[in-house]
Symmetry: C2
Subunit: 210 residues, 2 copies
Amino acid sequence: MSDTAGPSRRREETRRRLLEAAAEVFAEVGMDAASVEVICDRAGFTRGAFYSNFASKDELFFALVGLVAQERVRSVADRVAALEADGALDMTADNVVEVVSRVLEIGPEDRLGVLLFNEIRIHALRAPELAAAYLEQDTAILDSVARLVDDIVAGKDIRFRLEPRAVARLLMTVWESTSVRGVMAGLPPAELARHTGEELGRVAAALIER
Amino acid sequence: MSDTAGPSRRREETRRRLLEAAAEVFAEVGMDAASVEVICDRAGFTRGAFYSNFASKDELFFALVGLVAQERVRSVADRVAALEADGALDMTADNVVEVVSRVLEIGPEDRLGVLLFNEIRIHALRAPELAAAYLEQDTAILDSVARLVDDIVAGKDIRFRLEPRAVARLLMTVWESTSVRGVMAGLPPAELARHTGEELGRVAAALIER
DNA sequence: GTCTATAGGAAGATAGAC
DNA sequence: GTCTATCTTCCTATAGAC
């Protein structure tokens, strides 16, 4: 019964390994320069197995974009929920900075994550179907962060100089651009996270009404 | 004498047309997916002419990156110089917003410009030589904008809540991310420029001490 | 300087064995 | 389900004519 209902466990595992390998290769050399064969080698399969699981390289890419988007949205939502549950929102203006940088430690903090994120972004700039998916996840993350900002503001003595949504947008933007420049400068992972966190903190602090 | 000194006028013109066509094609489909043949067709030449002017597609891309970077830096520097010469810096807090959005109308405001800029960016993320060039132009533009912010502050009753360089960085970052989302949403050129300008204005306003 | 012709290779995708 | 073998297409780069 469990066999007729859906794809077998083995098949799922193969798909997963192929997607994982593809994420690496796409990040490293880009979707267009990535050959199906290299992806298969990395995953420990041959092209036959690949085409038994995906109709084309494009289909694999689309599937991967969906997964990455879902994962990012979930990751941020989880952090926000955790902060809210912790009661960490009883804060002073001083540790807003800390909270902010903690939430925005979104998925791609490592070099490959930043690369994959940007690879997806440029393909979304060119393909309308991808653009829709990209903007959707972007909005979902924005919503999460904006809600957190909203919660921070509500009933506290902290006020921002922009509406919550604009604050959230700015933080996301700073996170993204700082991490890109960090990767480009060749910062090691620890430095990358620290530097991005500091930048976020400075901007958040400047936006707090005092 | 004019012939022995350097490349002929005709040759320069061919190079220029090839570079121009390449900029379009790279923006549209990306450097890896762009074939030399399509670039040549677009420029009105054949591959023979191409390889007489460039050793490889990579060399063409590097040359193009250099040109684009140079052009961007010059464009921003010119605008800043023009504003300083105009005495447009005698301003009140109210029109800082206007000035800011005027300066940051940097080159790529159209769809293709944004695409090309992002294409260059992701290649710079992967190739250290390109990364150095990218960071260099980024810093040069940052310097220009920071100087402008500095001039605005000096001797006026306007003060920002961040140091000039941080303000400049934030404005560049907002410009970049807003234009990307605008292109992705399919905004027509006029809307794209207007929307980006408004966003920049809002952020600038929030950073002015009052 | 630019063209045509072509060598040489790489990669996407399919068919059929196991 | 996965593998090997193969078809086919496309592309980079070169050589030599004009």
